[in-house]
């Protein structure tokens, strides 16, 4: 039998579906069957009890489907949390989640040199947060301070972690990258510190409800402005990191010299 014949035969057989001449029931036959079957079932069945939603969980198939659905929803919610938390700032609800995600990123990197580079990049995130808080404006409420403190911490951790790295080649490469980042952050800090520069003597924070003093002098400043904190905290951290990196690079050079001798 060739393919053409087989195809025609199959098509002919399929055309029998629904054909009364090929056993498909007529309306009368259906009506007779319905009467017989449903009367029997009605006579046999007790009063219908509706099956409760939680009762249906006895079915293993529904349970498996429910677990799969729950896992899927969990994954979606987790992914959404990661996405939405990426723009969170200190004080926001999802800021903790953002820091947790970053910490996970560091923890899952086994190589100390790579971890140091990541830590330094995360410090850059803190600087971005400082800039975003500054752009929001409003009354300073410690958020910028929080971001700057974390920035300093990340920078220090980057240099500390780098010291743990064993491979001199990796250390050298990582140190070079971190130095570049440090230079970049220094510039950004300088910009942040110089933006909205005000004449000397006006470095005071107006507390809510207080009257604006008519005469102001630097000695009257009680609360340092954010841009001062930028200089104090941010720059100090960068300078410290630069010193640490310089020490690291010097020790690498000494090791090289030592091995050559």
């Amino acid at each position: 039998m060739n393919h053409k014949e087989e195809k025609a035969l199959i098509q002919a057989i399929k055309s029998l579906k629904g054909a009364p001449s090929a056993g498909w029931p007529t309306a009368d036959a259906i009506a007779r069957m319905d009467d017989r079957v449903m009367n029997y079932v009605r006579a046999q069945s007790a009063s219908c009890k509706s099956v409760g939603f939680f009762f249906m969980f006895k079915m293993s198939e529904i349970r498996h489907f429910a677990y799969a659905l729950a896992s899927f929803i969990f994954i979606i919610v987790s992914a959404a949390t990661v996405v939405y938390s990426s723009n969170a700032l200190p004080g926001d609800t999802l800021y903790g989640a953002k820091l947790a995600v970053e910490k996970t990123q560091v923890r899952f990197t086994s190589n100390p040199a790579s971890r140091a580079k990541i830590q330094m990049e995360l410090a850059g995130n803190r600087l971005k947060e400082v800039r975003m808080i500054k752009q929001e404006g409003g009354v300073p409420n410690g958020r910028m301070d929080d971001a700057l403190t974390r920035f300093a911490k990340d920078v220090n951790e980057a240099t500390d972690v780098l010291k743990q790295a064993g491979d001199p080649v990796q250390v050298k490469a990582a140190a070079s990258e971190i130095v570049q980042k440090a230079a970049q952050y220094k510039e950004e800090l300088a910009d942040l510190g110089q933006e909205d520069a005000q004449p000397a003597g006006t470095d005071t924070v107006i507390e809510k409800g207080e009257n604006l003093p008519t005469t102001q002098s630097p000695e009257d400043s009680v609360v340092p402005l954010p841009k001062k904190r930028v200089r104090i905290v941010g720059m100090a951290a960068i300078e410290q990191a630069e010193q640490a990196l310089q020490n690291t690079q010097e020790s690498l050079v000494n090791e090289n010299v030592g091995t050559q001798h």
Binding site: A8, A29, S45
Partner: protein, 199 residues
């Protein structure tokens, strides 16, 4: 999705003797099982009776707490139908008979034997009674798998589950069934051609 829906309905029937759930399942399979029994049992009344009995047995099985839970309802109902038909023939003390092909009046006067392809195209597609009778002439086990595959649109693996054979065997049976059907059609066409010549 259909499978999941059926499982839910089966569960409702088993746990709650839910009549409306049974009615939903019944309406899905009513015509299919009816046609299936008519292909396997020649007597019209007996076939009607058997088709109804299938659903009564389905209800009894599902509502009986001592029976195993049904995983695949479609396979289950066809297996039940086959078993009932086997019992029917056993009670009658006979095996399934193939119907002899009557001479069917044919407007296509054949002066010489035509290719089987033309016969299938002209005869079988236009004259379903003729094809139905040809189908009933092939062996019962071939006819069964051909009906399940091409009329009921069931895949090979499920047919294997229904007829309790391996899927490879089912494929062979389908192929042999189609070949057998073709031979019957060809032989009949040849006979008609010869008859015309005699006339």
């Amino acid at each position: 999705m259909q499978r999941l829906k059926e499982k839910l309905l089966v569960f409702r029937i088993s746990e709650g003797r839910d009549q409306s759930a049974f009615e939903q399942l019944y309406k899905v399979y009513r015509e299919k099982i009816y046609q299936f029994t008519h292909f396997k049992v020649s007597d019209q009344e007996d076939a009607d009776d058997l088709a109804a009995q299938v659903f009564l047995k389905v209800w009894e099985y599902l509502t009986d707490t001592n029976t195993k839970r049904v995983q695949n309802f479609r396979a289950f109902i066809y297996q039940l139908t086959r078993n009932l038909i086997t019992d029917y023939y056993r009670r009658q003390g006979r095996t399934p008979q193939n119907i002899e092909l009557d001479e069917v009046e044919n407007e296509l006067a054949a002066e010489e034997p035509q290719s089987t392809y033309l016969i299938i195209n002209h005869l079988c597609l236009q004259d379903r009674v003729y094809l139905d009778k040809c189908l009933k002439q092939i062996k019962e086990e071939y006819r069964e798998v051909i009906i399940l595959r091409y009329l009921e649109d069931i895949d090979i693996e499920e047919i294997a589950e229904i007829v309790d054979k391996k899927s490879g065997n089912v494929r062979v049976l389908i192929h042999r069934g189609l070949k057998s059907l073709r031979s019957i059609i060809q032989a009949d066409a040849d006979n008609k051609g010869k008859l015309q010549q005699l006339l």
